[in-house]
Symmetry: C2
Subunit: 224 residues, 2 copies
């Protein structure tokens, strides 16, 4: 029968509509009535269920961040310190990380409008986090940073913390830029703005990152 309490229905319908509308026109550009209409609900319910527009926005953000299962699932836990083969493990860990990051986080199902909207919302929040949303954002991102930095410090033990941070920034930056600046990239290149073949993209990012990081294995052997 799936009776499912009707109030839960409207609640989630409101959140879903909010994600779509906030992504499309921003927080200030979106009206409560608009969202309610999209959810086939009364606008007063926003206040009732979420204590107002801002509460709904926050709830929508939480939903967006927890929507995608963390790409880190399935990756080996923080690497062993200086066990034998630690370096090789870190290398594979970084490769796996980038693959997971790109596939699961960056490239959603373009045919699912809700998925698309979620990405737009996340990107916007990363660029200029709303005060209220900062904790949610941080909690979601922190594990990625930790994992990545662990790999980097194993691969380049000669670098200090600041240099490692710059490496991490450059690696993440490529991929995030690719997602966040799709707007301008599309303007410059037209559609499709990137290779249909996702694997080609992944290989590029992995190769560029490893070379940039200064991992000898990734660099073409000099002819002699």
């Amino acid at each position: 029968m799936a009776p499912s309490p009707p109030h839960q229905d409207t609640r989630s319908r409101l959140i879903e509509s909010a994600i779509l509308h906030f992504a499309a026109k921003g927080y200030d550009g979106t009206g409560i009535r608009e969202i309610a209409k999209g959810a086939k609900a009364n606008s007063a319910l926003v206040t009732y269920h979420f204590c107002g527009k801002e509460g709904l926005f926050l709830e929508a953000l939480k939903a967006v961040f927890s929507r995608k299962t963390s790409p880190l699932t399935g990756l080996q836990p923080p690497l062993p310190a200086d066990a034998p083969g630690a370096r090789q493990a870190a290398l594979e860990g970084l490769r796996a990380y980038l693959r997971a990051f790109i596939t699961e986080l960056m490239f959603c199902d373009a045919r699912d409008p809700l998925d698309e909207a979620a990405m737009v919302l996340m990107a916007r929040e990363m660029q200029s986090p709303s005060e209220a949303a900062a904790p949610v954002l941080m909690a979601h991102i922190e594990p990625y940073v930790t994992y990545l930095m662990a790999c980097l410090s194993l691969l380049r033990p000669d670098l200090d913390e600041e240099a490692l941070f710059l490496m991490g920034n450059s690696i993440q930056g490529q991929v995030l830029h690719f997602r966040n600046s799709l707007g301008i990239i599309r303007l410059l290149r037209g559609n499709p703005a990137f290779p249909e073949d996702l694997e080609k993209l992944i290989q590029h990012f992995i190769g560029f990152s490893l070379r940039g990081l200064g991992v000898p294995e990734a660099f073409p052997q000099p002819r002699n």
Copy 2:
């Protein structure tokens, strides 16, 4: 005496205030009365001088983009085709490009609020360009892309257009991400989020980019 036509004064004061306010609270989050108050002017003047709020926004964007003289000034014009030393010239061109890009475009005078606001506005427009602003944006960015791609195709003549584009994206992406995501970076690392020493930053970006691109000169010599 400095008589200076009063109408020109208010016009530019309005634009200046608009940049500050639009950057701080976005287009929809900013009211024209707020902007007018910041410019010590009457809100009706927005319509009078700019045909309305949207006109003022567009004018503010134009002002932002033409504010900074193009970092490409002073760089050698498009490189010679296959003249002798073309490769070395391209290498130096890319280094100079990155240096100019970082210093002049990415890192404004942080003590100048107007400069800061201009960057915020540009970053936002790059991520999700307003329909009306797209042409302005394109015109400003296109020369950068052209120059960069010219360097890249000389340094990696073995790559096809798509691969070159990915390289360009990765190179630009690092730097742009660094600027555009200062919000989240500050959250993760606190202040100051990046090295005080600008030169250190430049060297990192140049090194990472050249290695990532696959330029042998940039890679540490294997010990043998």
